[in-house]
């Protein structure tokens, strides 16, 4: 008879069946045995300094690798610290598997250390949550958790593992380990709906394709390329769909950032929206009142949300693209695309000039352009902040899937995501540069993770767009309250680069345009996790602030 503890059994199942390679965690007494199991079964662990970062890194891992991201946190504060990251994954539909410690079952209602009802707290922000009560059923519970996270519309799941079962020995022969099955049945749209969609595409004169996270999660690179290139439709890929086709594709309009979308959508006669929600970012679909809209989503309830679709196709993006491909005509929309490009360039006159011309203080658009000069599109970029997210989204271009990530721009608007996302990006693509453009405000949330970067040799390059303020809030307050009444939005000049140096990384302060590129090059040469603290113009406001402010003007 072979004896195995619950923690080791969990690790064995995850390694052998779910093929888990890495777990993001922070240690704790309740979860010691499962951590030891990871050592036993060769699962890499990245231990962070705050559980929020563990959840965010696991979330990001799922995006960069198209597989579930796993984090393990301890009970009580470990759990509550992770909640922001779980909520972010929930609103982002990311397949995050959260394993969590708990006070012992035997101590229920006795006032045990960290005794609290975690499951009820996490229920509204997970797709599925449960507590496992029997050591022999750990693999079964994990099997359910991974299926729930990944099947249909993805989302975070939460499994509570009490120490009574993690430390408990059991006979391995008595445990049933379920296989990971991949069923071939899929949800598919009706043929008449496919025909309707194809007819709209074939008759379109000014079409635009928008792809979101559903495109990214569906492994649709080949089918999307075939559909786009056959129909000749200009496209923008957003959220976790960004980079499914490279930004340099001749039909891609991502080079115009949000301006190209805001300019193009109101002019489009047909919009194909795949795996993307019409939420506040897209003004709930009000941007294009007259367009005919084809919506593709694996969740049928999403198709008419906020804006009724002309045709709704329920199904996985990759499968639907393949179904549409033989039904659509070879088209050439180069005249429309040329017009669209010229129009959005005309609306970006100042932005394009800011990228080209040095200024003092440094303009954030110029900073982004200089970063792109160093790394080009063979790199992974993350932007994090309010205005900083806009500047990154507008200026970064990448040839890689998920090569430009702006996680703070998703529904939770969660600042602090940048450093954990960049770390997961670097772990996923160790041979490529990974750059995070951080606002100085958002830098504060997870900057202690530079310690994690140093301990685990994760040489990300963080460039702080330092305007000495919570810029988006400050500039909104200047409009709403007046410049003399701004409150709680100033940060002051801080030497974040010295903080990173103190943690064992590389740091430099930059105040002049001509120093940006040399400083970045020295950071790369150092081979260390690096922070380049760039002092930028504190008076600069981004269009995102205006939209953010307008969103509250009706209140």
């Amino acid at each position: 008879m072979t004896t195995i503890t619950g923690g080791h059994l969990a690790a064995k199942y995850m390694q052998e069946v779910e093929k888990v390679r890495i777990v993001f965690t922070l240690s704790g007494g309740h979860i010691e045995n499962i951590l030891d199991g990871f050592t036993q079964y060769g699962i890499k662990t990245i231990d962070v300094r705050h559980e929020q970062a563990a959840a965010m890194m696991a979330h990001a891992w799922s995006i960069y690798n198209n597989e579930p991201g796993v984090c393990l946190v301890t009970a009580g504060p470990g759990f509550t610290n992770a909640l922001t990251g779980i909520a972010n994954a929930h609103l982002d539909n990311a397949p995050l598997v959260v394993l969590c410690g708990r006070h012992p079952l035997r101590d229920d209602l006795t006032g045990a250390l960290q005794e609290m009802n975690q499951v009820d707290m996490v229920k509204p922000i997970t797709k599925w949550c449960a507590t496992c009560y029997d050591v022999k059923r750990i693999p079964e519970y994990l099997n359910i958790a991974f299926r729930q996270a990944t099947m249909g519309r993805p989302g975070p799941v939460f499994l509570e593992l009490p120490p009574d079962i993690l430390f408990a020995p059991t006979a391995l022969e008595a445990v049933s380990i379920p296989a990971r099955k991949h069923h071939k049945s899929v949800v598919s749209p009706d043929s008449t709906e496919l025909e309707d969609a194809a007819r709209l595409i074939n008759e379109a004169r000014r079409p635009i394709f928008m792809g979101g996270s559903g495109v990214g999660f569906s492994n649709s690179r080949q089918s999307l390329a075939a559909l786009i290139e056959k129909t000749g439709i200009p496209f923008a890929l957003l959220n976790n769909g960004r980079g499914t086709l490279p930004d340099s594709h001749t039909l891609c309009i991502n080079d115009g950032g949000f301006t190209s979308i805001m300019t193009g959508l109101p002019q489009a006669d047909v919009i194909v929206a795949a795996g993307i929600r019409f939420n506040w970012v897209l003004q709930s679909g009000k941007l294009f009142p007259n367009a005919k809209v084809i919506r593709i989503d694996n969740d049928p309830t999403e198709i008419d949300r906020n804006r009724p679709a002309t045709v709704g196709l329920a199904g996985d993006c990759d499968a639907v693209f393949k179904q549409l491909l033989p039904m659509v005509d070879d088209r050439d929309h180069s005249e429309w695309i040329g017009k669209l490009r010229k129009a959005y360039a005309a609306f970006m006159t100042t932005e394009l000039a800011q990228r080209e011309n040095p200024s003092h203080p440094i303009h954030p658009n110029r900073l982004v352009a200089r970063i792109m000069e160093v790394f080009g599109d063979d790199a992974y970029y993350v932007a994090d902040g309010g205005d900083t997210s806009y500047f990154g989204l507008a200026g970064f271009l990448s040839q890689h899937k998920s090569g430009v990530q702006v996680p703070a721009g998703s529904l939770l608007g969660c600042l602090g995501t940048g450093i954990p996302f960049a770390m997961a990006g670097k772990l996923s693509h160790p041979d490529k540069p990974v750059i995070v453009l951080n606002g100085d405000g958002s830098f504060g949330f997870n900057s202690m993770e530079f310690d994690t970067c140093v301990r685990h040799n994760i040489p990300i390059i963080c460039i702080v767009n330092n305007d000495c303020a919570w810029g988006m809030i400050k500039h909104s307050q200047e409009i709403s309250l007046g410049e003399d009444r701004c409150t709680c939005s100033e940060l002051g000049m801080r030497h974040y680069e010295k903080m990173v140096e103190g943690l064992g990384g590389y740091g430099e302060l930059v105040e002049k345009d001509e120093d940006i590129i040399p400083a970045i090059e020295r950071a790369v040469q150092s081979g260390k996790p690096a922070c380049i603290n760039v002092v930028t113009d504190p008076t600069v406001t981004s269009p995102a602030t205006v939209i953010f402010y307008q969103n509250f003007t009706g209140l």
């Binding site: 805001m262 002019q267 129009a343 005309a346 609306f347 100042t350 205006v546 307008q550 009706g554």
Partner: protein
């Protein structure tokens, strides 16, 4: 001349709407922005100032704007701004007859506001 008159007339329409059109009043209630409309040579220009519900305008070319709609010439500006076609501005931009300096989001804001009153 017609373009300058159009800009002057637009200023009067905006002012009247700012206290007579309830939807427009609500729209500009919290806005604080300066939008310039001008010809590329700067000879014809008017700055529209929106200050939390109040609208005013100043004739002449200026630099202190949040966004500037720059028309290639006065005739183009007049014909596009008085066009009944919703895609007239887009087409003008695509044809090099219109550019936006500063933050185009404010220009879009003005265009959406004008739809409420014209």
């Amino acid at each position: 001349m017609r373009f300058s008159i159009l800009l002057f007339a637009l200023a009067q329409i905006l002012k009247i709407a700012s206290f007579s059109n309830s939807r427009f009043k609500a729209y500009i209630n919290k806005a604080q922005t300066r939008i310039l409309i001008k010809t590329a040579d700067g000879k014809r220009a008017r700055l529209f100032v929106f200050d939390k519900g109040k609208v005013s305008s100043i004739s002449g070319d200026r630099k202190d704007f949040d966004a500037a709609l720059v028309w290639r010439d006065a005739a183009t500006g007049f014909s596009v701004m008085t066009s009944k076609y919703p895609d007239a501005s887009f087409n003008a931009a695509a044809e090099g007859k219109l550019s936006v300096e500063g933050m185009s989001v404010y220009a879009q804001w003005l265009e959406d506001g004008l739809k409420l009153i014209i």
